[in-house]
């Protein structure tokens, strides 16, 4: 990655990572999430993430990792407990307020990319800025920079269907970073990728974190957790194991 490209990613880093590591980014306090009738997907779980941290959530299938990420992203609400992100009580937001909160604060990366098939790569990346009503020229410049930084500027005008899995995931990351969110959430970002593509994405996350991006990462990939994360938390049955 070129120094200039690094600059594009670092643009959203608040300050040097070391000095601010103690500031709280996420505070999940005594949270439970029960789906109607079923067993609790999250069971009185508490969790702290500091600014600049890269936290990896590990755990068996069905242990509640995605559920926790959804709560932090404001996509879902806890049955009990509070979720605070950057000082905002996410669990109390209305739908519209949650949407605005996501625009400003959260970048989301999914296992299956979740790109819009009918929009070009550039239009996909531009989407969060356009939905937020950001000025068009600035957004275009930012999108171009991101695509270049992530090495997919060749495909700017292509449709997602033509890209490889790794390329698609990089588009998804670019889209997640578009609005310079303080917090990046990634749910098994390498889960659908082969080894080589997985390595690309891993390197990308390492670079992002090195530039000060706070990241919460759900993964089954021990290598990913070991190389990227500053801390790992293991969930079992909706609780932090050995906490």
């Amino acid at each position: 990655m070129t120094p200039a490209a690094k600059g594009a990613l670092a643009a959203d880093a608040r300050c040097g990572r070391a000095s601010l590591a103690s500031l709280t980014m996420i505070d999940v306090a005594d949270v439970s999430r029960r789906y109607d009738g079923g067993q609790a997907a999250l069971d009185h779980l508490s969790l702290h993430v500091a600014e600049g941290e890269c936290l990896a959530l590990l755990g068996p299938s069905g242990s509640g990792k995605s559920t926790l990420l959804n709560l932090i992203a404001g996509l879902d609400r806890p049955t009990e407990g509070t979720v605070t992100v950057g000082g905002t009580r996410v669990d109390r937001l209305s739908e519209a307020a949650a949407a605005r909160y996501r625009r400003a604060t959260i970048g989301l990366v999914f296992q299956f990319f979740n790109l819009i098939d009918d929009l070009t790569v550039t239009d996909n990346v531009l989407l969060p800025a356009q939905i937020a009503g950001r000025p068009a020229t600035q957004s275009r410049r930012r999108a171009a920079e991101l695509l270049e930084t992530l090495g997919i500027d060749r495909h700017a005008g292509a449709y997602p269907g033509r890209l490889s899995g790794g390329e698609r995931q990089r588009v998804a990351v670019a889209r997640a970073l578009m609005n310079r969110p303080p917090l990046l959430l990634a749910d098994e970002p390498t889960g659908a990728l082969d080894t080589a593509s997985g390595a690309e994405v891993r390197k990308l996350l390492v670079d992002l974190h090195a530039d000060g991006q706070t990241i919460v990462l759900v993964t089954h990939d021990e290598v990913l957790a070991a190389t990227v994360a500053t801390r790992t938390v293991r969930l079992v049955d909706g609780q932090v194991a050995g906490a």
């Binding site: 992203a73 996509l75 879902d76 949407a99 996501r102 009918d118 929009l119 969060p128 939905i131 609005n179």
Partner: protein
Amino acid sequence: MSAIRTVVRGAQRRRVSTIVIIMATAMAVTATVLAGLLLAASSAPFANAFAQQHGAHLTAIFDAAKTTKDQAAATAGQAEQTAGPYPVTTVTATPQGAPPGPGGPQLKVVGRADPGGDAIDKVTLLAGRWARAAGEIVVARGDVRIPTGIVLRLEDGSTLTVVGEARSISQTAQAWVTPDQAVALGQTGWQMLYRYADASSETAMTAHEAALGAGAQTQSWLDVRNDAAHRTQLFVPLLSAFGLIGLALAALVIGNVTAGTVASATRRIGVMKALGLTPAQVVRACLVQALIPGLIGAVLGIVAGDLLAIPLTADVADLFGTVPMSVTPWVDAAAIVAAILLIAATAAPAAWRAARLRTVDALAVGRAPHSGRGRVAARLAARTRLPRPVSLGLAQPFTRPARLLAILLTVGLGTAAATFAIGLASSLREIQAAAEKPDTSADVLVMPMDDRDLRPIVAATPGTGRYYGRGPADIAVDGLREPARGTITSGDARWAGYEMLDGQWYTGPGEAVVNTAFLTATGKKIGDTVTGAGHEPLTLVGEVFDGSANNHLYTDQASVPAGVVRGFEWYVELTPGTGRDTYIAALRSQNVAAEATGSEGLDGTLILLDSLTALLTALLVSVAALGVLNAVVLDSRDRVHDIGVHKSVGMTPRQTAVMVIASVGVPGLLGGVLGVPAGYLLHRWAVPAMAHGAGIRLPQSTIEVYGAILLAALTLAGLVLAAGGALLPAGWAARTRTAVALRTE
């Protein structure tokens, strides 16, 4: 079969869209039933009603003073079938509470014990019940309605209570009482009703009439039929137009619903095929899946259609002067069969396509890149300066051209119906206004009084501006059996406001203008001369519209012998600044009766037509809106995953709703752009056709009723209709839980 059940159950789990499918089908079938009834009612309404009542070919009244009951009954041998003799009388009846005075309606009253149950002329009861006792009467419903409950006062002071309203297609009476009551009212004659084996020709009927002898007063069904024809032909094009739009719209909605249902099952079918479902099973599963909600909807639609048919057929019957059609199960049956055939015909090709789809492709539906359609639109929309949710929505329909077309046509037909209906209502209003104008163009009407010449009085009264006199006279015309009704004017009547269709108003003696019916009846043209007993030859200088289908002729007093008109009505325009009341008071002080002119208000037929048009338009527009609703629900369901993605990157519920509503923007606008001209042309064809059926030619002003602003507004109404249909699904899409949507495959 259990595999089929799995596919079907999968569809049923999506409750909202299943309900929408059922509702849309139901509405469409309701529209089909009503449209079918309209078409059935509009085809040969008189013949059907006449057959239904087993109408009388000949109605005869024998003078009771010269003919005994037995003598009247003895004529039965001349016909194939007879009914009677029934006692007949004529009464002058005034509704109680109406101001006393001469000229209450004269009613021909027939005494029949069971008018609905006789062998001939089975009179249809429209409201209330039959007269069962003395003091009760049932009146025939006509242009003037005497509602049930009214008490009629007779000339001798006795009273009759109206207990029902009925209609005889053979026009055998204006009211019915019990036979004893008819005798008590002062019987004047015996009525006999006849049916013949050969009754279709004028010659045959004349022979039958002659056979009854000179003493019988007769009425042939051929004359009754002629009278009815004018009335029914007037409205047939109108009702047929509504019926056809309704059928087209229903077919479109059902087809669209079905295609959507099958398309949405494609992915599930992929899974089933991967597990070993054969293509034949796939086709069967698709058909079953489409037919189940379709059938439920069709049955509900039939029920709703039959319920709505009751007021509708009653209105139509009043309009035609016929009786409501008896139960028409064949319309229901036809609607069901048509709906099923249509569903099968739409589902079969879609199912066949699904069955032939390679399993991998079927599995990939909704996941893999689409065919790439609509990308140009998406790129163009992205370049606009519109808010992103709007531009995203606008581009959406282009990925599915078939659905775009379906919404476009649905909106188009809806706007066409609304355009047509609004035009029709305005035309009817204009026609009435044009026909009434000679009565409303002046300020004050001075009534004729015996033989007094009022002209000097009018001329001398302060405040009189322009004025002219008008009076009736029969004008004999060579070539016409009956004299034409003449309107004789005195003074300059050019400003009276008669709408000219051709030529101009007369300017001197020896000239006349006539209405269209006169030209048709005499075969004359403008410029020809009319001769007849009692007047000098008259040159026809103009064709005038007066809203009448009878032969009318207008000419100046100087063209006819003096004294033909007994009294003139004087129409006076007041000079500016003169109050009507003071002017009328001034005349009254000289013992001259005068009143302010004014519109008579809407006539009954017009009100009936208005309510009928409103009902049909509301129905068609709702069907169209529901069609849009269904299309948008299907579309949102296909896009639920994309909607989730948009929300995950910060789209608010409001923005989501805006996006969904914007997705019908293009087809809504195009639908209006196509529908308005279609409705406009339909109106341009139907209104003159209606008038032609009634033997009338209409002034251009009554046909060209659409202003530019109205047309523009109607075009935008397409957009409103589409947006209205998209509103509910937009709300649902806005409320979709993002986490759930993202999990949806």
